[in-house]
Symmetry: none
DNA sequence: TACGAAATGGAATATTTATTCTATTAATCC
DNA sequence: GGATTAATAGAATAAATATTCCATTTCGTA
């Protein structure tokens, strides 16, 4: 008689699943370890796959994957999948509730807050893998790799994203130029044919960023964009767009998914340039 | 009799679906228009939802949502869902073959690279939760909350971290000052008693950052630090230190843990100030 | 190498979910 | 305003999927 009665043992968060996955990596029997290994690397497939698919992908029988789920503390695959589906499904509180939520958070511990942001980070990374396709990212990396100079544009929350990218591209010796905030954004005179623009803009979108990107696009410069929302104005004229949604805590978002994506992009660009040589 | 026979009419890409969605918005009957409206805004729910769920969310009967899918050119919901699931599944390499040597692949695709960085992000977040204690973070947040002005210092890779923090603190109306790169770092004349310095420095440590932080500490200013290594020079004089280790991919690190931590810190600082009021 | 315990894979069953059918209601046209 | 057609919602059916069971194999130990 299998006993999935005590719901206290059922993992409630992605973080908990990851911990058990890592803990079990050593002690699990062969087939179940295969499951753990594959699942660890492909968490994002769980919400959209059936047991049979996950099992086949892990190289085990469906029943084995079933036992794997139970070893993790779930009653079965459905329960585990439910946890991951919730990531996508979960409703996000609205912008204006921020202040109220913040007060509410005041009396919970700082550590609890960190745990929530970490959890949000896990979720964001999962959804990142969901929304970015190999082909799309590949095309963008290829397009940017051919640029004479990559112009990086991003203000406010997006500024940290482009500045980290600028640092990394510089280290990789990929020619790039970071357009600094306020005033400097008039500098479309420094963008020439053969260059590309990489613009990052999150809702609500900075008119400055959009304007410079649009001006460039109008002049025939290829514009690639990164945003967090479907209705980003960059959509209208960008050659290609990336989307990185960030899970939020009490109305605040980290930059986990965005920076993970731009880091990947930078490395991919360099890799493409190298392989052409 | 609806006739879904000709597969030429079946949308093959998300773009095509969006086009039909927009085209049909006018001509579709009431209930089906409801479906179109909701679906247009919640495309990401399709891969993880059942027909009933999508129907209920759209405010229609399951059978109505069914007809909606067929109006779009699909044979049914499953076929439509398949298209969206494929987005996620897309860069799934043929599993069984590559099982053993996942991490030793020679030809690493862009999607695989993203998966690796995401994986590194997960690990970084896990280790963050392990290395940062509730009490330590609490003390630091409390200490920084009492500052007249928070001075943010960070160069190179750390610059993105402090600049994102500066943005967030600004939005939270916590007085802070971001010390910009090169030249500006002499500005220890602008740091006064009652202020606090938050310095971020990753190995190899920028002498500039260390120097300014040390000068401040020597003058009795409280210095808090964030680093990725035990032997950070800030250790010698900082009031308190935070450590965020980043997992690396092929020698490259993202900033997942660091920015998650500083985001948490910023929000915690604001929360403390609010609860004192 | 032989024994017991644990693990495994395939087949049987239960459950969920998609899809179709039909009576009823609403809209359109003459 | 009545006749005709389209649209709708709920129930019935079909298909897919999760889950359990059990005979067989593998593993660890003496």
């Amino acid at each position: 008689m299998t006993a999935p009665q005590s719901s206290a043992l059922v993992p409630q968060t992605v973080t908990e699943v990851l911990e058990r996955l890592d803990a079990g990596a050593d002690i699990l029997p062969k087939r179940l370890k295969q499951c753990a290994l594959f699942t660890r690397r492909h968490l994002h497939l769980i919400p959209v796959s059936t047991v049979s698919e996950m099992a086949r992908a892990s190289g085990v029988a469906p029943s084995a994957y079933m036992r794997f789920c139970q070893a993790l503390g779930f009653s079965g695959y459905s329960e585990m999948q439910g946890l991951f589906k919730a990531q996508v499904t979960d409703f996000r509180p609205d912008y204006q509730d921020r202040l109220g939520n913040l007060r509410f958070q005041a009396d919970v511990g700082t550590g609890q807050l960190l745990a929530e942001f970490a959890e949000a980070g896990h979720k964001s990374l999962l959804s990142l893998a969901n929304s970015v396709t190999n082909e799309g990212l590949d095309r963008i990396a290829r397009g940017m790799a051919q640029a004479r100079v990559i112009h990086l544009i991003g203000l406010r929350r997006a500024y940290a994203v482009v500045s980290s990218m600028a640092y990394l591209l510089d280290k990789l010796e990929v020619p790039s130029s970071l357009h600094y905030a306020s005033g400097m954004l008039n500098a479309s005179g420094t963008i020439f044919e053969g260059d590309v623009v990489f613009a990052v803009s999150f809702a609500p979108f900075s008119p400055e960023t959009i304007r410079l990107a649009r001006e460039s696009a109008d002049r025939g410069i290829k514009v690639y964009g990164l945003t967090d929302s479907d209705n980003c104005p960059l959509n209208e004229f960008a050659t290609e767009m990336l989307i990185a949604r960030e899970d939020e805590v009490a109305g605040f978002r980290s930059l986990t998914a965005s920076i993970t994506l731009t880091t990947t992009l930078a490395v991919a660009i360099k890799a493409m340039q190298s392989s052409v040589d």
